[in-house]
């Protein structure tokens, strides 16, 4: 008998089930309904409470200018979606600033949700000490439950769904909060009102 069969057999003996037997109805899915009125204000407040920096602009052109101001002469790499060139792992590992899109923003926790199906790199929002995400205002939803409401199986189209809630942090030395331990210590979001 393989280990797989041994484990499954032991489980069935423990919970008294037959192989392939139907299961009872699981507890219902519990997804919260959130308020949609003040999403932008809520998101910005939550994001800034985590030491993130938010800028709200009207048009895509203004967003470009806002990004430039934040970069402020530092080295940067932008994803292809943000007008950058071909993906380069070396660039991710060496630049000061990574610029990417984001697929959702969560108003209740100030989080950004990044799906790999958007052809965004995993490392560009992770390796550089500063991350700038550009997102349309319409992508702000009340909570994570709204992401799962529209995408019951996000793994079907993305190998990774990453929920980013503020700058990378640790409290491992004397419980003192230090930002930027492995991921970016500085995070910005540029929100485009028209999109």
């Amino acid at each position: 008998m393989t280990s797989r069969d041994e484990i499954l057999t032991a489980i069935r003996a423990a919970v008294k089930r037959q192989p392939g037997a139907p299961i009872p109805e699981p507890p219902p899915v519990l997804l919260r309904e959130g308020a949609h009125e003040t999403l932008l204000e809520q998101f910005v407040a939550a994001f800034e409470a985590l030491a993130g920096h938010a800028v709200v602009v009207t048009t895509a052109a203004e967003a470009n200018a806002a990004v430039k101001t934040i970069v402020n002469g530092r080295t940067f790499a932008a994803s292809s979606k943000m007008g950058g060139g071909e993906f380069s792992r070396d660039a991710c590992a060496t630049v000061d600033v990574g610029i990417t899109s984001a697929d959702y923003a969560l108003a209740d926790t100030g989080s950004l949700v990044l799906l790999t199906e958007s052809a965004e790199s995993r490392l560009l929002s992770l390796l550089p000490p500063c991350h700038i995400a550009v997102i349309g205002r319409s992508k702000i939803v009340p909570s994570l439950d709204d992401v799962f409401r529209t995408r019951a199986l996000p793994g079907e189209t993305s190998s990774a769904v990453t929920i980013v809630t503020g700058p990378s942090r640790t409290g491992d030395i004397e419980m003192r909060l230090v930002r930027g331990v492995h991921g970016p210590g500085e995070v910005h979001v540029v929100i485009i009102d028209e999109m």
Binding site: T2, S3, I7, L8, A10, I11, R12, A14, V15, R17, A21, I23, P24, P26, P27, V29, L30, L31, R32, S79, C92, A93, T109, S111, T116, E117, A119, S121, R122, L123, L126, L127, S143, L144, D145, F148, A152, L153, P154, G155, S159, A160, V161, T162, I163, T165, G166, S168, R169, T170, G171, D172, I173, E174, M175, V178, V181, H182, G183, P184
Partner: protein, 454 residues
């Protein structure tokens, strides 16, 4: 019953302060964020999470098979490991076959449980813990002190010494500076590693996905930078649907550190897909039994497996908060350790474990998935006693019960006791009993005598 000597831990003022401050702060933050005004549905969510775990474990074979199908549908491989040896052997062979020299690892209690690092190091593969606290401890050659804050017992001076010794860095007096030393050293490892290992906070059956929750970004790096990602999780980590994740995420970080969400939650469904610029090329999921199926068979204690490893029970435990994480016999400490250890390891080696509790009930009250830890502790105590057969203690209680049924005799012995109790010899059968207890000084007269003369 032989108990560990905790006098050193109790006498260490620095350690006592560190434990008190760290656990106290985590407990305080938790209290604030689950308060009625802040999270009015907290109790409902707890109950719902409990129900989901109950349902999943009662149908665990079904959900494991579903998980396996979904992982394999995306080209991932599922490895079933009966015990620690099988799990370690798989990783070791994979590393050998793929010619891996450096492995980066993010924090995982399951890999601590199976002793993975020791195993790989013996094979000449450099295995680097990348969570800051775990990294410090790995350099120092120590084990995690706490599930969530593994190095809470180390001061910044300790860390500076450890870094000086092992990384040849200059002395550094601030947590910020020390953190940056680690960032630099570990960044090199992430970029050169051929294989990354993460744990699994949750396994999602309908998605074939692993969910990893963290604050630092080292788990994201471990599963994104190397060519191979191996996730290792206990079979009890399953939840049925991606849509159930919100419930557990709302509980986990709040209970652990008092955050609404941890900084990074990674939902990982296999290796990189066509069109994705980066990510691992191969994905393996190791499902570890290592005693869990045995535990599953015990219906009244089965809920011990609901644990989501938040550490809240440690932070609220009056025993853990004094003796710390190094006086428990296994990797899991605090109240949850007190119910897991005897069930995984048996009652014989350390029968004292379920007794190291004041039964104050705080652990059960703060558990985000409502594990009845105090009840299970009592059941385990009963199991230990059943195991021991007739003991001196039991004989003592029989005598006492008999006396209680004979009030006159009880009264007479009571007045005698006031004069003889202080002379109780600490030898013979009483020696063992008194070795763990201090007798109070006896009053000049018994209560009954005092009542009569009043």
């Amino acid at each position: 019953m032989k108990t560990p000597d905790v006098t050193a831990a109790l006498a260490d003022k620095k350690l006592q302060l560190a434990i008190h401050t760290a656990t106290g702060r985590m407990a305080e933050r938790r209290r604030e964020i689950v308060a009625q005004g802040v999270m009015p549905d907290y109790q409902d969510i707890r109950q719902h999470a409990h129900n989901l775990k109950k349902h999943t474990l009662e149908n665990l074979d079904y959900y494991l098979e579903q998980l396996e199908r979904n992982v394999e549908a995306r080209g991932g491989k599922v490895i079933w490991a009966k015990d620690a040896a099988e799990a370690c052997a798989f990783v070791q062979k994979l590393a050998r076959d793929k010619g891996v020299k450096v492995i980066v690892k993010s924090k995982s209690m399951t890999t601590e449980e199976i002793g993975l690092n020791e195993h790989l190091e013996n094979d000449g593969v450099e295995t680097v813990e990348t969570d800051l606290g775990e990294y410090i401890l790995q350099l120092a050659g120590e084990k995690p002190f706490h599930i969530i804050a593994p190095a809470l017992h180390k001061t910044k001076e300790d860390v500076s010494d450890i870094f000086e010794r092992h990384l040849h860095s200059q002395p550094e007096s601030t947590p910020e500076g020390l953190t940056m030393i680690a960032r630099k050293a570990l960044r090199e490892k992430f970029l050169e590693a051929g294989l990354g290992i993460t744990g699994a906070n949750f396994l999602i059956a309908d998605s074939g996905a692993v969910v990893v929750v963290e604050n630092e970004g080292n788990a994201r790096l471990s599963c994104s930078a190397p060519k191979i990602h191996v996730a290792i999780g206990g079979i009890e980590k399953l939840i049925p649907r991606a849509q159930d994740l919100g419930v557990f995420l709302r509980l986990l970080a709040r209970s652990a550190t008092g955050q609404a969400l941890s900084v990074y939650t990674s939902f990982l469904a296999g290796a990189k897909r066509p069109g994705e610029p980066d990510g691992p090329e191969e994905f393996y999921l190791v499902l570890v039994d290592n005693g869990r199926t045995k535990l599953l068979a015990d219906e009244s204690k089965r809920q011990s497996l609901y644990c989501i490893r938040c550490g809240a029970c440690l932070n609220h435990c009056p025993v853990y908060r004094k003796i710390g994480g190094y006086n428990y016999p296994w990797v899991y400490s605090g109240p949850i350790g007190k119910i897991l250890t005897p069930q995984f390891k048996g009652l014989h080696d350390d029968p004292w474990v379920p007794f190291a509790s004041s039964l104050c009930g705080a652990c059960g009250e703060v558990c985000p998935v409502k594990i009845e830890i105090p009840r299970i502790l009592l059941e385990l105590r009963a199991d230990v006693k059943k195991d021991e057969g007739a003991s001196v203690e039991r004989f003592g209680f029989q005598v006492w019960a008999w006396l209680m049924r004979h009030p006159k005799l009880f009264g007479r012995l009571g007045s005698m006791g006031t004069s003889t109790m202080n002379m109780l010899p600490a030898v013979g059968p009483l020696k063992n009993w008194l070795s763990q207890r201090d007798l109070p000084e006896s009053p000049k007269q018994s209560f009954r005598d005092w009542w009569k003369k009043r």
